[in-house]
Symmetry: C2
Subunit: 464 residues, 2 copies
């Protein structure tokens, strides 16, 4: 059965429920809700713009009666195709459920609707001296609901955790149209099965989140950056292990491989020494403690293979130390118009082996592949550069992607650290988990979503 | 069907599988595996002592064929009756699966069997400069598997998290006899549904954990204690909120209410000023940072209602500041031979309201009830003192318990912060979660354990 259009009875029911301006059916309007940052696109049958949880309950029940697929949507900044309505059906955009319901400084929490922008939440929490740790690059325009869907991270996760570590409670509507409440507005709880963390990272395939209680963290008033260059990736990885093994946790610990350093220098024009690898290290704290934190991180950064260690005396100088990273993105674009950017993750000690494996794959497939990313978590962004207009190159890029995933899994890593699986990686999931685990994922999914209407075609591979 | 004895065919199969000394059937031996720290006791049909995961897979399959209940057991230190075999069946003690398989300092992780003692793990990790944050009072003789079963916490959870925050991956055998592997040995992952955190706190009702990959944390070399006394609980709770709202996280933040302070002084003989509430505050760090951390916590501890603030110049003096807490337990025993100790949790701002409610319940039921515990997490241990030999008093204690839970739930809290539900609190679970959430818990349990053989009668209330 096609889900390109709403059956008239369902269209009437949804229009009654959502009001005249709460259901978009015009193709020109629907089109803009059919893409995400994966560059994939598909046409939904309609777009719902609910304003309250009870509407979400009712719209799921109505869709379920018609077997109509439902795709929850924040702002479409995800990179995996998770919010592309490949099976048609109803896109539920949470853009009108964007309120911060409550900030409770004494309890260090915020209660929000899923459509609130990460950046808006940060501003509101900042007025009370707090922040919410997940900080993906898209923070100004991505939603908290989307962060929950893919277990978003960002550079500060190395000290403060990713989304799963920073959510206390959720209210969500299952595919059966039941509103479930899980978790407690406390930082400790041991009362039955933990659906809160289970829903995080489930990419809209189990339930639609309609309210989230977020754990806030006191905002350190000061930050200071260090930039360390190493002769090779092995020396940098050993430094990462030293930095993570001492008690002063870096608030950021970012990595660039030698190709990235070379591109930033030679193509991007960054004024940095030649080196085989680069680490950007950040300390945070207050006036009394920051110096000591910087000193501890400087000591840990030093070791065999260190080429240069630069400290930024203040925040502005810290920004200038990022020149290499900033020069990198335009440099990559001059090399090739297209890139496949995968956020694989490996144990920290395996970073050199991963970079070696990636370089071998790059030679084998005759394509530039560069690695940079969140080294403290072993979460590297592997960028396979290619020209999408060149069919042979694109095929080699796809072949390289499969080989990268195989290398990551052989190194005890996994497919994604913070982007999720979505559409683009679902066919690789069966390589990453055992058949027994995959069978259990399917069985549990069926309890949340008995008719399989929630985000079909995502996360789980096709059941053949 | 009775599960007091193994059917002969099952007894033979298990003896073949586990060897002569791997299956205990003598009543005197079985008896010692039938209790836990809840003081409840029941007789299992037999006790299995597996030495490897493959035996656990086979014994679950054998028990499933006979519909025989299975109760996983660490060392029985839990307080909720979760390891008491109330339905008979087979107790699986993990005492022979107690190996530390691997400690990887560069990857900040340890891979262990479930029967390893928490204290043994801490010693082994300490040799590499690390610790594993969960530190229940029973740490020297409780197992990591037991910590995982009830999502154990302890005083350091306020800074470093409880068990759920410190486990990266698990291997576990479901009630269907399938070995599932979940998680990755990395601190970030977004690859399908998160069974790792879901199994933590599930009290052996979903699967038997046979291997755990634990996240280790660098051990701060120094710790320093502060003791703050306040005029009333409200002033102390305001100080807790201030302490938690600034960037230097206390490594412990323990609370005693005014009755505890009075008992410690008048009955226990502790040399402390009279006060309405007490906080024990701990900072950790190294020689360069500790002073600053202590100063930051001292500033935050000061405010309206502060009666006295004492700093311990060194670790030994810190121990002496604990005199009040140490005097408390014997003082409580002189008041009444029995106590019901529940580890409820509320948002930090609700601590004063909880203590008020508990005092009202104490007056109403004419029983002493005192509160102390992990204030930074809002996780208070409510101790209802009574004489178990006095039937009327015991009935009033039970009535008080129900009223305490109602008060906690009305304050947005929940039944347990770190002990779990087990046998003793299962009848209260339906007050803490909605019918929809409870139904989903049952539905998911059935996917892990289709025949309901794993720890029957625990966590979930009877399905009537």
């Amino acid at each position: 059965m096609s889900h390109d259009l709403l059956p008239p009875a369902l269209a009437r029911a949804l229009a009654d429920l959502l009001g005249d301006d709460g259901l978009l059916t015009d193709p020109a309007e629907r089109l803009t809700y059919g893409y995400d940052n994966s560059r994939r696109q598909a046409m939904p049958a309609a777009v719902a713009l609910p304003t309250e949880a009870v509407q979400v309950v009712e719209l799921v029940r109505a869709c379920r009666r018609h077997g109509m697929p439902i795709v929850a949507r924040g702002r479409g900044t995800n990179t995996t195709g998770a919010s592309v309505p490949v099976a048609g059906g109803l896109v539920v955009s949470f853009e009108r459920m964007d309120r911060i319901l409550r900030i409770a400084p004494d309890d260090r929490l915020a209660v929000v609707e899923p459509g609130v922008l990460n950046g808006d939440l940060q501003r509101a929490a900042g007025e009370h001296g707090f922040f919410w740790p997940p900080d993906p690059t898209s923070a100004p325009f991505c939603t908290v609901g989307g962060n929950i869907a893919c277990n978003a991270g960002g550079p500060h996760a190395v000290k403060y955790g990713a989304t799963r570590d920073n959510v206390l409670a959720l209210a969500a509507v299952t595919g059966a149209g039941e509103l479930v409440r899980c978790g407690t507005p406390t930082t400790k709880a041991s009362t039955g099965y933990d659906f809160t963390r289970f829903l995080i990272g489930s990419e809209g395939t189990l339930a639609l989140v309609v309210e989230a209680t977020l754990k806030l963290t006191p905002l350190p008033p000061l930050r200071r950056a260090l930039r360390a260059l190493y002769a090779d990736v092995g020396s940098a990885a050993a430094a990462v292990a030293r930095l993570m093994a001492q008690p002063v946790a870096p608030s950021m610990l970012e990595f660039m491989d030698g190709d990235c350093v070379r591109l930033a220098r030679e193509v991007g024009g960054a004024d940095i020494p030649a080196a085989g690898a680069l680490l950007m290290i950040q300390a945070d704290g207050d006036a009394a403690t920051l110096e000591h934190a910087v000193a501890a991180l400087s000591r840990a950064a030093q070791g065999p293979g260190l080429v240069a260690l630069d400290a930024a005396p203040d925040q502005a100088a810290g920004e200038r130390l990022w020149a290499a990273r900033k020069a990198l993105s335009p440099a990559l674009r001059t090399l090739a118009p297209g890139k496949i950017n995968e956020d694989v993750v490996v144990p920290v000690s395996r970073i050199p082996a991963l970079v070696d494996a990636v370089q071998a794959i790059a030679r084998e497939q005759d394509l530039p592949i560069v690695c940079f990313g969140h080294a403290g978590n072993g979460n590297l962004h592997v960028n396979i550069l290619h020209d999408p207009a060149d069919v042979a190159q694109s095929q080699r890029a796809q072949a390289a992607l499969g080989r990268v995933f195989d290398a990551v899994l052989a190194l005890d890593g996994t497919l994604s650290g913070e982007h999720g699986i979505g559409l683009l990686k679902r066919d690789f999931l069966a390589r990453a988990v055992t058949p027994q685990t995959l069978a259990l994922m399917r069985a549990v999914k069926a309890q949340f979503d008995p008719d399989g209407i929630l985000n079909p075609g995502k996360l789980l591979p096709e059941d053949v």
